[in-house]
Structures are given as structure tokens and as C-alpha cells.
């Protein structure tokens, strides 16, 4: 089995086989690292995917003459911290929603269930765009890599998806 620095050097030169081997060997390490840092929540796989995208974009910054582990670790640490920051912001926003009136947690659960249902019946492209851009709050570029859609297609899809959701929620039941 080739070493990480050698695989990365070949990946930088465009060797897809070496790159595939490198990424597949890295995934278990990343899962373990992220699991330890964010406490085994359901978001582990999402964060692992974000780290993989980050590694992909930053692959030019690795110097094969230097150790590989600190390079991966610093990118993974940054991504985990970013995830934790977004989670904190999200929990602060949730507090605003649930505090004003008693019983609003129940209302929120109902709204959440309705919203999940409304998203699930959207056409596939729109559903993917809404989930990646609005629920997971990924950037257009990240969402494009994950979905395989172009950024302009994602923009159109999320716009149409949100319009349908707005219509669905504004109609009287």
C-alpha cells in the first residue's frame, strides 16, 4: 500500500487511481476524527463530506516533502469548528422561535413535519437544491460538487423549490 504523501503527489499530477485510493483510505480516519469531535451526532457524515470537498479544493496546498497528517488534520479541524459555529448559530435562531409563546415547541414540530413533507414531494432537482443550500447551508460550489448539478441549475431549482414551498404554506388547509 502506497503512503499518503506519495498518493497525494500523484493525485496533484492528475492520477485518478491514486486519488481514489487516497480518499478511500482517509474516510475511516475522518469519520473517527469527526465522531470524536462532534459527539457522534447524525451530522458526522455531512461533516466528513464537507472535509472531503475542502481537501479536494485545497489539494494544491500540500507539499509532498512535509508530513501529510498535519495537513489533513488542520483542514478537518477547521471544518469541524465551522460546523460547530453553524450549529451554535442555528440553536440561537431556534431559541428565538421557541421562546415567545407556550406550546410553540409543539407548533414547531408540526411545522417541521409539514415542511419535511412539502420538501419530500418536490421534484428531485428542487428537493436536492433546497436540502443542500437551505437545510445544510452549503455554498453553491459545494452543493454543485455533491449533487452533480451546475451552479446555475441549482439557483433555478432552489428558487422554484422555495416558490412551491411558499405556495404550499400560504394555501388554506
Amino acid at each position: 500500500m502506497a503512503e499518503f504523501p506519495d498518493l497525494m503527489k500523484r493525485a496533484q499530477a492528475g492520477d485518478a487511481r491514486a486519488y481514489s485510493e487516497l480518499l478511500r483510505q482517509l474516510v475511516p480516519f475522518l469519520r473517527a476524527y469527526v465522531g470524536r469531535r462532534i459527539g457522534g451526532s447524525a451530522d458526522v457524515e455531512d461533516v466528513v463530506q464537507e472535509i472531503l470537498i475542502c481537501l479536494h479544493k485545497a489539494r494544491h496546498s500540500y507539499d509532498p516533502s512535509r508530513p501529510f497528517e498535519p495537513w489533513v488534520a488542520s483542514i478537518a479541524r477547521y471544518r469541524v469548528l465551522d460546523h460547530q459555529r453553524r450549529a451554535r448559530m442555528s440553536s440561537i435562531r431556534d431559541l428565538d422561535v421557541t421562546f415567545p409563546a407556550s406550546g410553540s415547541n409543539m407548533e414547531e414540530m408540526i411545522v417541521r413535519r409539514d415542511l419535511e413533507h412539502a420538501i419530500s414531494v418536490l421534484p428531485k432537482g428542487q428537493r436536492t437544491a433546497v436540502q443542500l443550500l437551505k437545510l445544510r447551508q452549503l455554498t453553491l460550489k459545494e452543493a454543485a460538487v455533491i449533487s452533480g448539478m451546475t451552479t446555475s441549475a441549482l439557483k433555478v431549482a432552489v428558487h422554484r423549490g422555495l416558490k412551491k414551498l411558499r405556495t404550499a404554506f400560504s394555501e388554506p388547509k
Binding site: 485518478a16 480518499l23 478511500r24 463530506q49 485545497a58 494544491h60 488542520s74 483542514i75 449533487s147
Partner: protein, 213 residues
């Protein structure tokens, strides 16, 4: 999306990349732009008439050299901060010359307390505008160099970058702007350097421009 599918997409998306050049080469590239720019502004404003006298003063030499060393060390630290995996202690590289610069100014301030001149607190807004003006082109050049790397901690990187260009600008100003009272230099030149670095840190941390996502 399953992670397996993402891996397939990333592998399909693979293109050859040019590896990042070393910190020293990137630093030299930046200095090749920054130093001629500083020399240009110094020549344009004209070297101060008492330069020979000032160069004979050890305090002037220590202050100017400490400011220059702060600028260069901060540039090294800023460039290094865009290389994932680089030792994090390197962010502290500009600290020793920065402390020396501050101490040399502080020592001058203490001495001036015994020989007050009455002009110590006059406003020197031209120091602020001068540092901003002289920093502009080296700052843009440094931004270009930094963007080639990977911006993970943009607050730290921008703070070090602003410290670098403003400290070098302050050092250049010592050659053409005849303000020597330590308290004035401390407040208006060192103060501007600290303020610009703090602003850059806040802007970098809040706006996170060019960070990899």
C-alpha cells in the same frame, strides 16, 4: 448523497494542479513588489534633510529596524498561515520585533517626560493617511500572494497581513516624514499599525473573504 458517490464525483473532477510554492519563494515574490513601492513613495516625498543625523542616532535605527523586522516577520507568518499543517507557533513570529519596537518607543517616551517640548500631543493625521497610502499597493500584492494559499483562519491571516504592510509603511515613513517625538510616533504611527491590524482581524473574522468552503 452517500459518501461513496461523493468520492466518485471528486475523483471524476480531478485535474492536475500546480503545487503551492514555498513560503520563502512567495515572500520573495511579494517583497519584489513591496520594496520598490516603498522606495518609490520615499523618493516621491523626498528623504528627510536630517537623515544623516538621524542614522547616527541608535534609537532611530533600533525603531526603524524593529518596524522593518516586524513587517517582514508578519509577512512570513501571514503567508505560512495559508499553508494547512504549518506549525501554528509561526503566527507569533512578528511578536519579538513588535515588542522591541514598542519598547524602544516606550523608552523614548519615558525620556521625553524629563524634557517636555509642548508639541507632544499635536494631531498627526498625515501619519495615518501616509501609512494607509504607502500600504495600499503592498497590501494588494500580499492579498494576491495569500489567495494562492488556503485561507482557513482569515482573521489571523488578515491581521498578520495588515501588520506586515503597515509596519513596513511606518518604517518607510521614518525616512521621509520628520516626526521623531517618541510619544507622537507611538500614538500616530504605532497606533495606526495596531488599529489597522485590529480592523483587518475583525473584518477577516466576520466577513471571512476568500476562505475555502
Amino acid at each position: 448523497m452517500r459518501t461513496e458517490d461523493l468520492l466518485d464525483r471528486l475523483v471524476r473532477d480531478l485535474r492536475p494542479v500546480r503545487p503551492l510554492t514555498s513560503t520563502s519563494i512567495r515572500l520573495l515574490g511579494w517583497l519584489a513588489v513591496a520594496l520598490p513601492t516603498l522606495a518609490f513613495w520615499t523618493m516621491l516625498f523626498g528623504i528627510r534633510p536630517d537623515i544623516e543625523q538621524r542614522l547616527a542616532d541608535p534609537r532611530f535605527l533600533i525603531e526603524t529596524m524593529a518596524a522593518t523586522a516586524t513587517g517582514i516577520c508578519a509577512a512570513i507568518a501571514a503567508i505560512d498561515s495559508t499553508v494547512p499543517g504549518a506549525p501554528r507557533w509561526r503566527a507569533l513570529l512578528p511578536l519579538p520585533p513588535l515588542v522591541l519596537w514598542l519598547l524602544s518607543l516606550g523608552e523614548g517616551c519615558l525620556r521625553i517626560l524629563w524634557e517636555p517640548t509642548g508639541t507632544l500631543l499635536e494631531a498627526q493625521w498625515q501619519c495615518v493617511s501616509g501609512i494607509v497610502l504607502v500600504s495600499a499597493i503592498p497590501g494588494l500584492a500580499l492579498l494576491f500572494v495569500l489567495r494562492r494559499g488556503v485561507l482557513l483562519t482569515s482573521g489571523i491571516t488578515f491581521c498578520l497581513g495588515a501588520l506586515s504592510v503597515s509596519a513596513l509603511a511606518a518604517a518607510a515613513m521614518r525616512l521621509f516624514h520628520p516626526v521623531d517625538a517618541s510619544l507622537l510616533v507611538l500614538i500616530w504611527q504605532f497606533g495606526t499599525v495596531v488599529a489597522l491590524s485590529a480592523l483587518a482581524a475583525i473584518a477577516g473574522r466576520r466577513l471571512r473573504p476568500f476562505t475555502i468552503r
